[in-house]
Amino acid sequence: MTDADYFGLLGVERRWRLDRGALERNYLERSQASHPDGFIGQDSGTQRAAMERSSQLNQGYRTLRDPVLRAEYLVKLGGTDLDSSDPRTGAPKPSQAFLIEMIDLRERLAEGDVAAVREEIEARAEQALDAGIAALDRGEVAEAARELVARRYFQRFLDEVDASEERPT
């Protein structure tokens, strides 16, 4: 089973910069046409098809609406699945230097410099996303994949900071 191309499914151009109005409009229109409620009383095959199409529209809308998921999805369409660890088609491994940098950041965090580290990482995550998008626009999928993987590392870091702040000490 292959994923249908969400851009085609939702009738928007296949690139990161998005016509939001068209996405919203097409999503609502197409969801209305294929929602399972419109097929109650019909045969099970038709009902199943409606459910599957609606599922895809919802999943596609969720993906395209989100700037990060949309970028990652474009990389996936380009042949690199960031959710996979396959050495050929999966997420590229970050460089040694990058990993060492992440360890340093963690140490700085442990030293208690939370606010400053946080701000820095937020900025780095944004930069990585911007660089990833720029690479996609140039058609350089491998480069985009590297940047988006870096962004994921930064994001996970931020999530951990949030979690540790919420935890009662």
Binding site: Q32, P36, G41, S44, Q47
Partner: protein
């Protein structure tokens, strides 16, 4: 039901297919909307585009107290049941909604019942002589049955199907339990609809508004907050949150505790607790209009007691604040500030409490909408949706609802991997690939949980099953793809597939604390037995399923090996084709016959004709089946192992079953499955 093992590859078809199989001619205008509430329930209709109206019983009461009494010989429902509550608190079941889809260990609130866990299913002991234990699902089914009968009296004929509302916050187990209750009550459940969505539907259609609305729904036992956007004929739920164990009943309990304390009763009897609770409810209602109330509570030894609204408000303040916290979280999830809303709708009797209205107004910065009776608004919305789904020509909006809680899988270390995040629009499916950790690993336990917490044990456990037959592969080489499919009722089907071998298993998630499919079927049949004339309806349904199964098995075999003349000589083929078309004709004739009439004798005649057609088809295709069997055996003699023959035979059997289940003709597949 701690573990579900499904090893044959037909599982996907056998189990997953029936959820979608409901091919039946629709009956416009014969759909009903049911608000199955914690403290009271209602039924409404809005036939063929008419304005919704709630239906009253013979005494003119629209509200059915959600109370079922097992105190006497006969089960009694509603107000008469309530009247028996003070005398038999442990045998009269109220607020049963709080027990739906729950195990004994989940029940952390106080209640007067003796609970028994039988095979993981929670039951309430409502009688010793004779012993009687009822599940919350059966109790709910009694309420639904009463409302169905009310609607039948009004419609002057059978109900086609129902939309039943559930709190948006209900998890998979609670939804499944509600759906099962509907089936046991003999209802075709068109759709489970979130209560706030129903309320918005009632308001939205009346006024044709566009915009973003918050629905604050505080019922007897549950609290929901939902944020919805209405535009271009689509209702989109942006976020939902709440607490499925917080409601007006808690207000009553808080006040009852206060009354008992004032009476100086440190260790009150069950009867006294119950009296205090009933008094507290009455007091709460009166304090919505008055600043203070004087009452006598002789059973507690309290005479001319004064209770003020300020006292009540102080008692409920912590509960009220919990609802406000949930409101703020829902706004955040929707990515909105309160000022961006176009309106706030109040739903549920508990929103009559002045302090609640005050807090809602403060939180959202505007007075809430209350034009429609907050007790009836949910039933109105359900009736509108039921009318649309019954096939009426009614200008409808499409409801894009969301799943209220994230769904995930337990991974190494008990950590939850989220597969579908909360507030994702349904239906939706998602896939995730997992891998093996050692070459010795040939099985994988799939533990499905629902909730927001990081650790699996802190979330609701929905199901656990084991994927077997993973090939021996080096670590991280096996690829197990797990697919979650949520349907439009937010009910979950999980499929797991090993990508190297294609070993596939599916399980329609049966909640750990739900009734088993067999038990639901048994109860469905029992409920049919109750209703005299329905015995023949059941016969008819079974005859139809049987014939459908045989037709498909034969057709499939003809399609697959019919071209081999030694298996199917032309004469035989002709005879089989004739028998097949006669069988088809019998199906069509039966549909026409039953559609026009519902008398017992017609139903029986239809069942008899289906059975005759099946027997003829079986007789005529029997030689063909025997030759296929022989061929499979011969193949075995020509050097195949016994295992392979058995596998081949098993496949053949499976194919037939699969065919039967995917049949579009079989409308009652999910009610009379194997």
């Amino acid at each position: 039901m701690s573990k579900i093992n499904l090893q044959d590859t037909g599982a996907l078809f056998q189990i997953a297919e029936p959820t979608a199989a409901q091919a039946a001619p629709r009956a416009p205008g014969r759909g009903i909307g049911i608000d199955l509430g914690t403290t009271h329930s209602l039924v409404a209709i809005a036939p063929q585009g008419a304005a919704p109206r709630v239906l009253a019983d013979a005494e003119g009461r629209v509200i059915l107290p959600s109370v079922v009494s097992y105190a006497g010989e006969r089960v009694v429902v509603g107000a008469p049941a309530m009247a028996q509550q003070e005398e038999h608190p442990e045998r009269v079941v109220s607020s049963v909604k709080r027990f739906m889809g729950r195990g004994a260990a989940d029940i952390e609130f106080s209640h007067p019942y003796q609970l028994v866990g039988e095979g993981g299913v929670l039951r309430i002991a409502v009688g010793d002589e004779p012993r009687r234990h009822v599940s919350p699902i059966e109790v709910s089914a009694e309420l639904l049955r009463a409302l169905k009968q009310r609607a039948e009296a009004e419609l002057g004929g059978p109900v086609d199907g129902a939309v039943i509302t559930v709190p948006a916050y209900f998890d998979d187990a609670q939804r499944q339990a509600t759906r099962d209750a509907g089936r046991i009550a003999g209802l075709k459940v068109y759709r489970l609809l979130a209560e706030p969505t129903a309320a918005a539907l009632a308001y939205g259609l009346d006024r044709g508004e566009h915009g973003v609305f918050a629905i604050y729904d505080l019922g007897g036992g549950t609290f929901d907050i939902s944020v919805l956007r209405l535009h271009a004929g689509v209702f989109q739920v942006l976020a939902t949150g709440g607490d499925s164990a917080l409601g007006g009943d808690d207000f009553d309990r808080a006040l009852a505790g206060h009354l008992l304390a004032r009476a100086g009763l440190g260790e009150p009897s069950r009867r006294q607790v119950e009296s205090a609770r009933i008094a507290a409810r009455a007091l709460k209602e009166r304090l919505s209009a008055a600043d203070s109330v004087r009452i006598d509570l002789e059973s507690l030894g309290l005479v001319d007691l004064e209770v003020t609204r300020a006292e009540l408000e102080a008692l409920i303040e912590p509960l009220a604040q919990r609802t406000i916290k949930a409101c703020k979280a829902a706004l955040k999830d929707a990515g909105l500030r309160a000022a961006e809303l176009d309106g706030v709708v109040l739903v549920g009797g508990s929103t009559r409490v002045p302090r609640i209205r005050q807090l809602v107004e403060m939180t959202f910065g505007r007075p809430p909408l209350t034009n429609i009776d907050p007790d009836q608004v949910v039933a109105h919305g359900a009736a509108i949706q039921a009318d649309i789904l019954s096939g009426s020509e009614r200008p409808g909006v499409t409801l894009l609802d969301v799943v209220p809680l994230s769904l995930g899988l337990e991974t190494m270390g008990g950590i939850v991997e989220k597969i579908i995040p909360r507030n994702a629009t349904i239906p939706i499916s998602a896939r995730q690939v997992f891998t093996n950790y050692s070459e010795q690993q040939t099985g994988m336990v799939i533990h499905v949980v629902q909730g927001e917490r990081e650790l699996a044990r802190d979330n609701r456990s929905l199901a656990r099953f084991e994927l077997k037959g993973i090939p021996r592969l080096p670590p991280s080489m096996a690829r197990v793809e797990v697919t979650f499919q949520l349907d439009a009722d937010a009910l979950l089907t999980v499929t797991a597939r090993e990508l190297m071998t294609g070993v596939k298993q599916a399980v329609e998630v049966k909640p750990t604390h739900g009734l088993s499919a067999e038990e639901v079927d048994r109860l469905v049949i029992e409920s049919l037995d109750h209703a005299g004339e329905d015995y023949s309806a059941r016969n008819l349904a079974e005859a139809r399923v049987e014939l459908g199964r045989v037709i498909l098995a034969v057709r499939r075999a003809v399609g697959e090996v019919g071209h081999i003349e030694s298996l199917l000589p032309p004469d035989d083929r002709m005879a089989i084709e004739t028998a097949l078309s006669e069988a088809d004709a019998a199906m069509v004739a039966m549909v026409a016959m039953v559609a026009g009439s519902t008398t017992e004798s017609d139903t029986e005649a239809a069942a008899a004709s289906l059975t005759r057609a099946r027997e003829r088809l079986e007789r005529i295709s029997e030689p063909f089946a025997a030759r296929r069997m022989q061929r499979a055996l011969n193949a075995g003699m020509a050097g195949k192992s016994l295992d392979e023959i058995e596998a081949a035979l098993a496949d053949e059997g499976l194919d037939a079953r699969r065919g039967g289940h995917s049949a579009a003709l079989i409308q009652d597949d999910d009610e009379h499955g194997e």
